[in-house]
Each structure stands twice: as C-alpha cells, then as structure tokens.
Subunit: 319 residues, 2 copies
Amino acid sequence: MQIQVAGTGICVPATVETADDLSGRIGRSPEWIRSRTGVAERRISERRMDVMAADAAREALGGVAPDLIVNASLTPVQLIPDSSVFIQRELGYSGIPSFSIHATCLSFLVGLHTVGGLLGTGAYRRILLVSSEQGSVCRDFDHPESAALIGDGAAAAVLTPTPEGHESGLLAWSMATFPEGASLAEIPGCGVANHPNSEGALPEHNLFRMNGPRIYKMAVRRVARLVSDLLEQARLEAGDIDWVVPHQASGPALKTLPRMGFSPERVVDVVGQYGNCIAASTPMALHTAVADGRIRRGDRVLMLGTGAGLSVAGMILRW
Amino acid sequence: MQIQVAGTGICVPATVETADDLSGRIGRSPEWIRSRTGVAERRISERRMDVMAADAAREALGGVAPDLIVNASLTPVQLIPDSSVFIQRELGYSGIPSFSIHATCLSFLVGLHTVGGLLGTGAYRRILLVSSEQGSVCRDFDHPESAALIGDGAAAAVLTPTPEGHESGLLAWSMATFPEGASLAEIPGCGVANHPNSEGALPEHNLFRMNGPRIYKMAVRRVARLVSDLLEQARLEAGDIDWVVPHQASGPALKTLPRMGFSPERVVDVVGQYGNCIAASTPMALHTAVADGRIRRGDRVLMLGTGAGLSVAGMILRW
C-alpha cells in the first residue's frame, strides 16, 4: 500500500496530574500507582475532545486543508452528530467529508489502515486522521487500577499517497478480534444496553472498568502471534525493525515487547508521562518519536496494540 | 472500484407500531403523523441492536464466514467495546477483525465505500457490513416530529471483489459535511459534552432531537449538487439510473427525488412501513429491492442520503 504519513501533530493538555495528586482519590499509594500502571503522571483536559483534536490536527496539517477528516477516537463529543463534525467545525472548515472509525484503543491503527485503502481508490489525496480522548471524564475512582491508567490527549496524522521517489508504504497489516474478551474492558453505558434514561441505569455504567490481569493473560500470546504474522508478511526479523510504536496500554504491557526481540531503546514509551490515552496513545507516541528525530524517512516502524474486544492489531510501515 | 455486493439480509422486528398506536404518546393525530412524516407504521425491537444485526448478517452471509466485520450503525450497544464485537459474538465467531464506522444516517453508505477501499488492498476478500438501529430507545415523545419518524431494524451486505466475468463496481462516490448544520439533528448526550454523570446532565440530552424544516432547507440544494456530481463522475444522466435507493429520511424527503429526474417507480421507498431506521434505512431499502427481484446484476443503482452533520453522500453502483 503506497501511503505516506506526511505530517503529525499532538495536543498535550496543560494540567498535570501526578501519582501523588491521584493517590487520595483512589485510595492507593503513589508507589502502587507507579509500579502497577507505570504512569508517573498524566494530563487532564479542561478542553473538549474536539478542541484538543483541532489543535493536534492543525500541527499535522501545516496550513493545508485535507480532503477527508476521519475521527478515530473512543470518547465522542456526543452521540449525534459523530465527533468528526465537531472537529471540522473547530478547524474552521466546511464541506469536507467527515466520519468516525471506532475500535477503542486501536481506532488510530484501524483508521490508518482504512484510510490507506481509501487513498488507493483515488477518491481522496490528503486525509486527516485524528484521535482525541477525554477519558478522564469516564474514570471510576472506585476502580483504582483503571482510574490510575487513563490520561487525556490528542494526536493527528495526515496521510497521502507516497510521493514519487519515496519508498514509504505499508509493509504488513494484521488484526483479530476475540469477543470472548468483551467484558474485560468496558463502559457498559451510553448505548442501548444500559441507556442512561432506562430503568436500572446506574452512574457506574457510564464509567470505565477493566480487568487488567485477565486482559494481560488473554493478550500476551495473541500479541506474540500478531508480531510473528507481521514480520512474516513483511519478510523481516525483529532486529530489522527500527522503531516499535505500541499502544501505551500500561508500563507492564510495554515491558513485554523486549521479550519478543525488540531492544528496549527501540520501543517508544510515553506511558509514564501521559498514561493510557486510549486511541490517542499510539499517535501521541508516534508524534513524539517523529518530532524528536528518532523516526526518519526510510525507517521500518512497527505499530501495534490491544483494544477492548479483545482486539489485537498491528502494522509495519516504511516511514 | 471493482466490488460486488455478494449478498444482503434484513431483520424486521416483529412488533408493529402504527400511527394510531403512537398518536396518544406524542399528542398528534394519526393523520398528522402520516402526512407530516410519511410513516404509516414502524417496527419496535425488544431485541438488542447486536441481536438484530446478527439476524440480518446471517441472511447476507449464507453460511460463509466473513474475514472482516464492520458495524455501520448509530445506536451502539454500549460505549466500550464497540458494537462490532457484540455482533461477532452473537454470530458465534471469534478471531475475525471487527470495528465500527459512524456517520449517523450515512454510516452504511460511508461503510460501503470504505470497505470497497479495503477490498482493493487485498487485506480482505469477504467483508460483512451491517447496520442495526434501536433508535426507539432514544425517542423523545415531547418532540413529536422526530419521535414519529424513527423505527427499529437492521440490514447487512457482504462485499467481495468483483468476480471474473462480472461488471459490478463502483461508478461514482461523493460526500460532503457541513458543520454549520451540527445542531439540526442531535443526541447531545452519551459523550463527554453532556456526560450522563455530569452536573447539568438532563434526561433529554440522551434523546433524539431534530429540526426537520431547517434540515430540509439546508439539504435540498446540496443533494441536487451531489446528484449532478455523481452523474457527471459516472458519465450518466438521470434516465440511465435503474434504481434509486435513498436513505429513508422521511416521506417528504423522498418526494424530492422525482424532481431531480428520477421517475417515482424507480425510487425504492420503504419509509411508510419501516419509518426512518437511521443507518439501517438505506440497506433495508436495498435488501427489499434485491429480494423482490427489482434490482438485478448489471443494473445501475444510485444510493444517496443525508445525515446529521449535516452530511450528504451518495454512490452509483453497477450491481
């Protein structure tokens, strides 16, 4: 697939919440938070997800309008219209086709693969893909582990067909979804199953719950299989990968990657400073490593992660 | 784009609610309902959107598993995981990659175009696209016009690359989104803007509101432009279109199509019996016309509609 990431951008909310700040609200020590989740601090946004998204998008776009806007986020502004409309409004555009892709934490990866397919049709030439999350609104302080993981933030990428003379492209793609893990990470409300106005609806239905140990157990072999599949598709070995940009699920989750043959200094890790920003985590890590000069044209970049579902997905890009 | 709709399916909930049944709940006469919305009756589902989706999907699949499941619906089961996971679970599968596309009433059309792009990459060969809506849960009986429009239902399509010797394919695609219409059709809740647990959250935030006359006014010229664009892309005239399969927005909305040169008997109209089933409306109409033998291989099919945003989108398919 002949696609290139032409630009990236990020929005890091101003307010920092440290493990010390959070400790009292969840009844766990700062040490517990840091060791259990790997999150030393996170950002909390007072600005709405569409406003953060527009900030990140402006940086990625560099002043040139896209011809399609795809929102790839979990936390919506509201149920209708879909959030891409509010992001477009915040950017000051009108008339640009817009829609959303939702695969929880994997929304950005699924979005990147999907808009790659759309670029191939010729219908679009410059696609804005943006993930923006205000997960802090859905934190359940009675679930210390999940509440200690989540942070807010946004990041964006602009995708174009690979320009003449460049070698950028998608070398491999793989995804699988296992519904037997559906109850391991949930916001059970905000839909038809536990509609907020229905009898029996509870406030906790609208908050995030997860069973970290069971997800870890279910994911670890499936992620290893995903990595083998990707490397085989691209006819590469772990040592050929220049940068691994994983979903920032948790500190412990990131620590599993070196065991698959990737050296720790090649794994982009921002979970300590930003927490798990749901779909925005992967592009926030990606932008960080592009902006600081680690990722350069020609590099082989493996992006991968897990999401509620349980889903696993990954891709190898020639940058 | 060399794609073919290999199969379609539908789920029509058993419970019928007529204009007479609804009249008392919204304080309007049955005649008012029928003339204002064109909806004589609608179906109300006691079964969840994922259960309806699986029914429609089974009919479309005909016993052969897909290699990707795309949910293209507005009403989710819950906020996490995305509804595609529940649909896969209900179908009894595991391991099939699954995600959701959301463009309100246009989700099926946007989904069809998008999965066409994915088929082009070779990553998938048999994609299930399903729209299932339980909009009845979000009806606001204090807004008679919108409450009288909405109905429940589901429909699905299976997409494959065009088989050897067939001429099926996408002849034209167009979409545009105008955020200045964002407030004309809304469910303001179930997201971060009016989170159900937030101070100031109101039950009506979780219900559907729309301003039909203003949408009509904003949409009518934009739909006419969309149709011209599509016909020009495909180098066709209105008379060359065998079947028009529109989103079933309302009776009055469907009546605008003959004014654009399409004869009324060529417009597939199921709004009177099913109401506006949000994203499921277009594929329910499509399935109806395929199942009763109207749409046949080789026919030129124009599908189009409007959605909250305000968005307009359409495509011309060689069936």
